[in-house]
Amino acid sequence: MLESKELTKVFGSKTAVDHVSVKLEKGHVYAMLGPNGSGKTTWMKMAAGLIKPSSGQVLFQGEPVSLNSRKHVAYMSTEPYFYSWMTIKDVGAYYADFFEDYSPRRYQALLQRMELTEGMKVKTLSSGMMAKLKIAVTMSRDALVYMLDEPFNGVDLLARDEIRASILQYATEDKLLLLSSHLVEEMEMVADRALYIKEGRLVECVDLETMRSERGVSMADRYRQIYGHTEG
């Protein structure tokens, strides 16, 4: 459903994403793992069409990402990006104006779950509330692909539970979810596949339950193997 071919992005002298080829299939929740600066965000932004690749390409349903793919790909960035004059209600209205797959009903339900009210001003939200708002409005779209960059960042334990539940609720067989995080434990149960990215390169893409039953290795164990300092 979403595929990158030899995808590369160079910023000045730094190669952020280095010839990454990977095929992501619908019906799965992928965890994109790697330390900060390993290229997760850049890969996602290229898949969202926000950053133009230096070389290689990203295909959505076999076609290069374009205006059409933006209709079906819901991207959530780590940083807050709403206009500062907006209220939570305005944010929903904005999505309603530009995304055909946006559902106001779903937004209402998610806001309620997240304990947010429409009158709140975006400017005054705490980082935890902002994280919840971003999830609420992104998951209000009935998109085919959801790419959530660091959905659990800066969020307390209870809010994490709400965010996790909201994500799982809409992860149906015809959807593809890609979540990036450096909080590996948080992703362990939610994802069924993991992409390990190291210094811009794809190390491997594994099925987690297969890895657990065949090797007795958890997602976090594998993370330590790949990124940990080799000691003896």
Binding site: H28, L168, Q169, E173, M189, D192, S213, G216, V217
Partner: protein, 117 residues
């Protein structure tokens, strides 16, 4: 709940539900939550949740009725067999543990009876 991330998650959730069936928390013929509901309530991946029901069905512990959902089996014999299975597994674990402490099976059995009040 807390899972052991080194063991397959479906196996652990399945174990939870098996315990629920034996203890009667989920009675015979009772409707089980849908796959998605299960995923949300345990905080696990939906594919993992689906796997749990597949395996439970394979083990004859629940049945899926088209358009109605998944139900705990009404077969009392099967549930009794499950109780036996789980108990034996617990006994095995126990014996492994005391065995590693160098205690014989006979001594272990005596200790169990002494514990009884």
């Amino acid at each position: 709940m807390q899972f052991d991330p080194m063991r397959p998650i479906w196996l652990q959730v399945m174990g939870e539900i098996e315990t629920d069936i034996v203890t009667g928390v989920r009675g015979p013929g009772e409707k089980l939550p849908g796959g998605r509901e299960l995923a949300v309530s345990y905080g696990i991946n939906p594919n993992t949740a689906a796997r749990v029901y597949q395996e439970l069905e394979k083990a004859g512990l629940c049945e899926t009725r088209r358009g109605m959902g998944t139900f705990v089996t009404g077969n009392a014999e099967r549930i009794a067999a499950l109780r036996e299975e789980l108990a034996r597994k617990a006994v095995n674990d126990f014996l492994k543990k005391v065995g590693s402490l160098g205690v014989s099976r006979e001594d272990a059995a005596r200790m169990i009876l002494e514990e009884e009040e």
